[in-house]
Amino acid sequence: MTERIDIDAAIAHMADALRPLLSRNPLMVGIHSGGVWIAQRLHQSLGLTEPLGALDISFYRDDFTRVGINPQVKASELPVNIDDRHIILVDDVLHTGRTIRAAMNELFDYGRPASITLAVLIRREGRELPIQADAIGTTLDLAPNQRVKLTGPDPLELRIGEARR
Amino acid sequence: MGLQIRGGRLIDPANDVDRVADLFIDNDGFVAAVDKAPDGFHADRVIDASGRVVCPGLVDLRARLREPGLEYKATIESETHAAVAAGITTLVCPPDTNPVIDTPAMAQMIQQRAWRFGLSFIHPLGALTRGLEGAQLSDMESLDEAGCVGFTNAHEAIRDTLVLRRAMEYAASFDLTVFLHPEDPWLLGAGCVHEGEIGTRLGLPGIPEAAETVALARDLALIEQTGVRAHFCQLSSARSVAMVAEAKSRGLPVTADVTAHHLHLTEHDIGFFDTMCHVIPPLRSLRDRDALRDGLVQGTIDIVCSDHQPHEPDAKLAPFSESEPGISGLETLLPLTLQLVDEGILDLAGAIAAITSKPADVISVDTGHLGIGANADVCIFDLQQRWILKREEMHSRGHNSPFVGRELNGQVTHTLVGGQVVYERDIS
């Protein structure tokens, strides 16, 4: 089922929430792959000038021993030094919080940011760690066995389906 | 005590017998009669051999018993037990024990050890040179008197061709047979597999065919010069078979044997470094295996032997080239030979001759046949009995066989040595 969610409106909503932070000259970092696509849109609409960073959190996941390495792991790329910078971290879905935990661990291996603000397109129930988003595109009410996936980069589409056993 | 073996298919190639017939054995352990009981014969025991084959006890032309010197691997006691369970009533052991069999005392000691256990006979081969060092001749005539049935330098190549010539001449003086392992030591080197594509893939040092043929050519030239009677041990390559066939056609007094495993396995069986397939000479190509089979059929190769080399487990639990070569082969000698009959390569009588009468002839020992007056060394087996070789059920102390887990055909039910039942399979 493809839920009819107005992604553009959601992204605009996130941009509005983030606009006040522009005075702190933030650095934007997206989490592969959905977060990077969203971040590209935000990067443009907020008029940021420094290059966008991209994180692949495969090496920081907590389920490596069980599941193994992601065959499509990409290289993380942080072109700008993050020491003492205010980071806007962007992802597509905030669910349990584990991806964000991994992303923050990875960021801190690159340097010591002044602050991290989290922006997500979708927030859904099921938080397992004390992590919350500061800018949210939209909230979805989903059953535990449902999965939501962002496809892209163009067009961006949200797909909601049943989780495979 | 007379013994009757009733209703079996009696196969006695030496006497050209292959028919259902009873066998009668007298109190002294000799064959008294065939088909019909002699007058006044009283059987204290009757063995029902109906549906089974009755043949001479097997003669294994090369088996290492590890005693003296390597008793942690096996002993005469353990291996003669294994031998009779496999239908083998006569074993020929090489002199490369520790100490070497180059004195009459050693030769007698080994035979006496065998007599003590009353199972298979052991006939030792004497050392061709003293200490197997390839420098001085051994006391061959005395060793012959003491029971040695032939002379060999085993795997210690005699590098000095003059010494080899003299040893052959001396042996020929007394009509003694030399047993030769055609191996050029330099080409053999540290090799452990057949030099070819498989060896290259595995990155293991190879033994080229030339290692065998170079030595074979040298030995044949000297046999021709000295007139000694010679037996070639363990041919492994097609080229060697051709060379021996040529020598025989010219009337040279040579015989040859092949190991049971070389008739079935090839370099492909090594797989992922299976040390159970580490043997010297190595398992070679399919072409070589087929030529060895053909050589047996044509009579170029006369005899099949086990080349029994029992090992303790650690000997095989090492990287391939570091593992010790050799297969524990007593228990598969009969079934592997019979498999050639199953595959239509040999006829049954020919197969049995290769492991009874022919080896007995080479060592000139009165066994391997069941005519009237013969020593009652008998093997009774089920020709169509399929069984699986299981490591824990092997009788030998050495469980190092690549045939473990394989289904084999032909299982011994009774073995007699000198008319005494020394092995009987529990059929319940």
């Binding site: 920081y60 996941r61 389920d63 490596f64 021993t65 290289a75 291996d109 | 030099e195 060896g199 990287p319």
Partner: protein
């Protein structure tokens, strides 16, 4: 587990013993995973927590500081605890077998063994002996295989030449004794390199080498024509004593890679060497230090490739879905 002990029932890499028998997908997975590890080595904290809490034992029965060091660095960059052991001669003198050594170490909760041994087949012997949850990477066994070296060589080639199906590769030197050559030949052929050449005198070529899918040359000039990648193998000085080649002078004259011989190959050909180099024997210093040499990048790439192999081998013991987000 497949008969060759390398892939599990799902086709995932469990032990890395030899290139032979691995499908192209597996080799590409290693190369692609290695790409992502390169950037780890370029940032300040050169670590990722992938193997945190795991114990990696470098068990080098045959000494090698270079290879052992790269494996050590690779394991540490994955945050593993690393132990280096060189049993070498001393244990065998005491009579402790290879498997005894493994048992003792395994009892200390080792998760991954990296083993180098001077005898072919040692890695298989050990892999057969280990319980299923303990993994093994072959760092070189006798003449048989050196699969991580082959992968880092292919990684380097891909970085410079991009398309495996469009290049000619020549491997020059002592193929007979070389596990690097054997593994590299398997890897190049599996990855689709159309022409792999070996260049050596007959004494240094193993019997039946053609069956591995290579063309043989005894003449270096002919062997290097139109070649895109040249891999020079180290010639051990003992080969003179074994009557395999006559002298160092003759070897350098006939098979040594000099600028003049290098010019026979394509203008943009790259020169590789698994190291350590014998300057003035198999390779001229001018070439080794020249613009076409990628010998130093090979070393750097070695760390990323070994990290990739370790990560693949150690990951995902249990079947499971990816965790929640």
């Amino acid at each position: 587990m497949s008969a060759d002990m390398q892939l599990d029932d799902k086709g995932r890499l469990r032990n890395f013993l030899t290139i032979e028998g691995l499908p192209r997908e597996t080799l590409l997975e290693i190369l692609d995973t290695a790409e992502s590890f390169v950037s780890v080595g370029e940032r300040e904290i050169k670590k990722v927590p992938l193997l945190r809490g795991k114990t990696v034992v470098n068990l080098f029965f045959e000494a090698s500081t270079r290879t052992r060091t790269t494996f050590e660095i690779a394991a540490k960059r994955l945050s593993a605890d690393v132990i280096n052991l060189n049993p070498g001669v001393s244990s065998t003198r005491k009579g402790e077998t290879v498997l005894d050594t493994i048992d003792n170490l395994e009892a200390m909760r080792t998760d991954l063994f990296v083993v180098r041994h001077s005898h072919s087949g040692a890695a298989y012997l050990i892999a057969k002996h280990l319980p299923p949850h303990v993994r093994l990477i072959n760092a070189g066994d006798g003449r048989h295989a050196h699969p991580t070296q082959a992968m880092l060589d292919c990684f380097t080639i891909r970085r410079y030449k991009k398309d495996f199906s469009a290049i000619k590769v020549a491997i020059v030197g002592d193929i007979l004794h070389s596990r690097v050559a054997r593994s590299l030949i398997h890897a190049l052929r599996t990855l689709g390199v159309p022409e792999v050449r070996v260049v050596a005198p007959k004494t240094l070529l193993p019997t039946g080498v053609d069956a591995l899918g290579v063309t043989t040359f005894h003449n270096l000039y002919e062997g290097l024509e139109e070649v895109d990648v040249i891999v020079m193998l180290r010639l051990q000085r003992e080969r003179m004593e074994g009557a395999l080649i006559p002298s160092e002078q003759e070897y350098f004259r006939v098979y040594g890679l000099t600028p003049e011989k290098l010019s026979i190959a394509k203008d943009d050909a790259i020169v590789m060497h698994p190291g350590p180099m014998n300057r003035g024997l198999e390779i001229d210093s001018v070439v080794a230090d020249g613009p076409q040499s990628v010998i130093l990048p090979q070393v750097t790439n070695g760390i990323a490739v070994r990290m990739a192999v370790m990560a693949l081998v150690m990951g995902g013991s249990a079947a499971g879905e990816r965790g929640g987000d």
